[in-house]
């Protein structure tokens, strides 16, 4: 137990209410000075709402019917609007998940940093500007004197998040709340940002409240963990015990469902644990961990002709006065029944590669052979029969389904386009596909908004599979999903591959996921394929420095947890 004087924040019995729903119920936890506390949970757990409640930034239709938030001896819930504004930005600061949209697009970053200094420290315009430059240096933005007049769109995502951090620490707050600060960033940038946050925490002796879904981040950067599920705090524990056996079953399920790079788990060796939460007879949640028994996969047929052969494929995007080579001489082959993983950070050209193979963008040079046929120069009409065999699963399960169409309409559209005119046969095909992706048949008459993210991704998979393709391109299919859902979808993809004899081109920025699902792996950087290897070799003996850096960044988050777990 820490002495009372070191206690910075004490949340007691906090409930957040929207109408008749309570998305946060009776939450209690505390943060000491200089301590990092992580709040972990999946979407809908109420972790972000709790953070907003601390700053009294909840939407207007939300209320806090009970609870106490004691910060340095004052109850924040009792402060007047004017007094809470003196706390925001000065005593407690916050950074958000989306660096791309969290800065005002029409104001310079210098002014956005200066604004908070002029407000709370009453600095003059000139002093505030000088401090803004100092702060940009502090968060390691190169050329701070010049960049201070830049607008947000001139900065990369990682740099914008650094500016957000500069704004947050400008007045040396005692508590910094970071709500998923690195979720939208690439792995290497992610590690840098977290390192920066930790360094600033020590320098400025702040308390840090880290809100995240990522157990890797939690295990490396926090001292204590609060685990939340559906508005309830399940348990609070020192980070060192996060992976020990006697934890709450949900915590254990989370730990098992998240894949870690150094565990070296592969879909051929075992399937991923899935968490099931069921209400028992007393209305209490019962948390079950289930590990499906893996079944044998047929070996990849190497002697057959490859299903896909891409040779020297280049794509250039042209605007009026600029050329951008988005894909440079990519060459790859994919055997029948194989899964080829493609890793790379944003802008590495991996999405362009998938679009070029799908013939959604035209290649400048090179060739694509699919099932023995050269499809590089086919006209849209000639492509039509090819598309039946070549389908795609998209990243965003929310944006990729038309909200005004029922699931049946969404699934029937490709069938009609491809000449299945018999309504009975279409119904039959939809029923089969639903069985494959494990959706209830009643889902057909409902609309996308009625489904959760994981269910929508199943619908997206169903749409890709309904034409019975032979090759499916998966573009970041699990990146937008929670850990437990991610495990379910990955297990499903493995099962489908076996049952339907599919080949996958699996694109992801998440090395652990790629490691789990792929037979071979390709690494992309700056529009080029820089490395290719089988799924064992690439992690053990990476050939390029870049791959080594990627692995280090991805593994960094988990080294400590593994050491602690074993």
């Amino acid at each position: 137990m820490s002495p009372a004087s070191s206690r910075l924040l004490e949340v007691e019995n906090l409930t957040v209410r929207f109408g008749s729903a309570d998305p946060v119920r009776h939450l209690s936890f505390s943060v000491d000075r200089g301590e990092t506390v992580a709040v972990v949970g999946e979407s809908g757990s109420g972790k972000s709402l709790s953070a907003l409640a601390l700053m009294r930034l909840l939407p207007r239709n939300a209320e806090v019917p009970n609870g106490r938030i004691t910060f340095e001896g004052t109850d924040l819930l009792k402060l007047s609007d004017r007094d809470i504004r003196k706390v925001r930005g000065r005593e407690i600061a916050m950074i958000f998940q989306e660096p791309m949209t969290s800065l005002n697009p029409v104001a310079t970053i210098g002014n956005q940093i200066a604004e908070v200094l002029r407000l709370h420290e009453k600095l003059s315009r000139k002093e505030a500007r000088a401090r803004a430059i100092e702060l940009l240096n502090l968060v390691k933005i190169p050329d701070a004197e010049k960049r201070v007049d830049d607008f947000p769109h001139q900065l990369s995502g990682g740099q914008r998040q650094r500016v957000m951090i500069a704004i947050a620490v400008a007045c040396k707050p005692k508590l910094l709340i970071a709500d998923e600060p690195t979720t939208a960033l690439d792995a290497t940038i992610q590690a840098q940002i977290l390192e920066l946050l930790d360094e600033l925490r020590r320098k400025l002796s702040m308390g840090l409240l880290l809100i995240t879904h990522d157990l890797g981040v939690v295990s490396r950067w926090s001292d204590r963990v609060v685990v939340m599920y559906h508005g309830d705090k399940l348990e609070e524990l020192p980070t060192s015990e996060l992976f020990s056996a006697d934890r709450h079953p949900y915590t254990r399920g989370l730990a098992q469902a998240s894949i870690r790079l150094e565990d070296g788990v592969h879909h051929t060796s075992r399937s991923l644990s899935e968490i099931r939460v069921v209400k028992d007879l007393d209305g209490q949640n019962d948390y079950q961990i289930r590990q499906p028994v893996p079944r044998d996969l047929p070996p990849v047929a190497n002697d057959d002709e490859p299903i896909l052969q891409v040779d020297g494929l280049s794509v250039t995007y042209r605007t009026r006065n600029r050329e951008n080579r988005a894909l440079d001489k990519a060459t790859l082959t994919l055997a029948k029944g194989e899964t080829l993983g493609i890793v790379g950070e944003s802008g590495s050209g991996k999405s362009t590669l998938s679009k070029a193979i799908m013939r959604l963008v035209n290649a400048e040079s090179g060739s694509i052979r699919f099932q023995g046929q050269d499809i590089t120069g086919l006209s849209p009409n000639q492509l039509q029969p090819v598309r039946r065999d070549l389908q795609m699963i998209f990243q965003d399960p929310f944006g990729s389904l038309n909200p005004r169409k029922s699931i049946r309409d969404i699934l029937e559209a490709p069938l009609i386009v491809h000449g299945v005119h018999d309504a009975a046969e279409r119904r039959q095909r939809i029923a089969e596909t639903f069985e494959h992706v494990r959706l209830p048949l009643s889902a057909a008459e409902r609309y996308p908004h009625e489904f959760s993210g994981g269910q929508r991704q199943r619908i997206g998979i169903a749409r890709a599979l309904i034409l019975r393709p032979s090759l499916v391109i998966c573009d970041e299919p699990v990146s937008a999903l929670d850990v437990s859902i991610q495990a379910q979808i990955l297990n499903l993809l493995v099962d489908l591959k076996r049952d339907l004899g599919l080949s996958y081109l699996f694109i992801s920025h998440d090395l652990a996921v790629v490691q789990y699902i792929s037979d071979r792996v390709i690494v992309m950087k700056d529009s080029r394929i820089i490395e290719e290897s089988d799924h064992k070799t690439i992690w053990r003996q990476p050939k390029t420095d870049y791959t080594r850096a990627l692995i280090a960044a991805a593994a960094g988050g988990e080294t400590r947890s593994r050491a602690l777990a074993s």
């Binding site: 925001r88 930005g89 969290s102 800065l103 697009p105 007049d149 704004i167 009026r320």
Partner: protein, 329 residues
């Protein structure tokens, strides 16, 4: 990077695009007008009540209306090249002079109306956004709907009934007190008194549009992440609204304002008729009735230049408001 080079780049691009646009408009208009039945000679003969084939022929020859269409076009373009808009057969004076008399009246009326519309529209829209879903929002929405749906001439007439006839506060028509010898400030006041009613009735429709537009734009911006960032800094709601929300919301509004300049010219015809305001709108109307195509072409040319100019100003305003526009890629 400072805003100036960005704005200059935008200006240069706009000017380069304007030249072919204007030329296209002239030629298109010329042929469109040829499609209308009758010409100035027909109307003049009709008004005179008696005309022989010979006098008609003589009239046409005098105005150059007997030439083939393409020759007429070439003549017109030749005139334009010498910065002359031609000669009006009906008014018996150069079109440039004719338009010159009327242009200031219409321009002040439009500028006034646009200023009223934007000012009141922005204020009401901001209020509606601030109280969205609550009583002030509902009430203002009803007013906006009313102004939006009631035709301009009726509002004009009702304003006359209320302010001129019943209350006697403002004059019911005209552009200034006839025979007055006001100078300096008094003259401006006099002018303004005559302008209030026509400008208001022209503006009300646009007030409604801008109010709704501002409301929608502000509500959209309010939900953006950077507004939450601004609140997390400890800024007060007023500062957040003015410094972060309004400036972002202005970007779509300026686009609409530019597009409305053309619409306002059309609305000016009605309002100028109701208030017997001596402006371009009425001149255009008279030119159509008299089949005086030289005048009409001159007005159309001028209004198209006006619209292009307004769009250029909007482009500049946007380049200034939004740093992402006009950036060298």
């Amino acid at each position: 990077m400072s805003a100036l080079p960005r704005i200059l780049r935008t200006l240069r691009r706009t000017l380069l695009q304007a030249v072919p646009t204007v030329l296209g408009i002239i030629i298109l208009n010329f042929f469109l007008l040829q499609l209308a039945p009758g010409d100035a000679a027909d109307v003049m003969a009709g008004e005179a009540g008696s005309a022989t084939v010979e006098t008609m022929q003589a009239l046409r020859e005098r105005f150059g209306l007997d030439n083939p269409v393409l020759v007429q076009l070439a003549n017109y373009l030749g005139n334009l090249a010498q910065f002359s808009l031609g000669f009006s057969p009906r008014y018996g004076m150069p079109v440039t002079e004719l338009i010159g008399q009327r242009l200031p009246g219409t321009l002040t009326l439009m500028a006034m109306a646009l200023a009223i519309a934007i000012l009141i529209g922005l204020t009401l829209g901001s209020l509606m956004a601030a109280f969205s879903g609550r009583l002030p929002d509902r009430l203002l929405s009803i007013f906006a709907l009313l102004f939006y749906s009631v035709p301009g001439f009726w509002i004009g007439l009702m304003l006359i009934v209320l302010f001129s006839v019943t209350l006697g506060w403002l004059p019911s028509g005209g552009a200034g007190t006839i025979g007055s010898s006001y100078t300096g400030f008094a003259a401006i006041i006099d002018k303004a008194r005559y302008m209030v009613l026509p400008a208001t009735s022209l503006a009300l429709f646009y007030v409604a549009i801008y109010a709704r537009l501002t409301r929608a734009a502000m509500l959209e911006v309010k939900n953006q992440d950077f507004v939450r960032t601004a609140y997390a800094k400890g800024l007060s709601p007023a500062v957040v609204t003015v410094k972060h929300v309004l400036r972002n919301a202005l970007i779509p509004i300026t686009t609409m304002a530019g597009m409305h300049v053309g619409g306002m010219l059309g609305g000016a015809v009605v309002v100028e008729t109701v208030y017997s305001w001596p402006g371009l709108g009425r001149l255009a109307f008279e030119a159509v009735m008299g089949r005086d195509y030289t005048v009409l072409l001159g007005i159309l040319l001028l209004s198209s230049i006006l619209v292009i100019l307004a769009n250029a100003i909007v482009d500049l305003a946007q380049a200034w408001l939004d740093p992402r526009i006009g950036e060298q890629k």
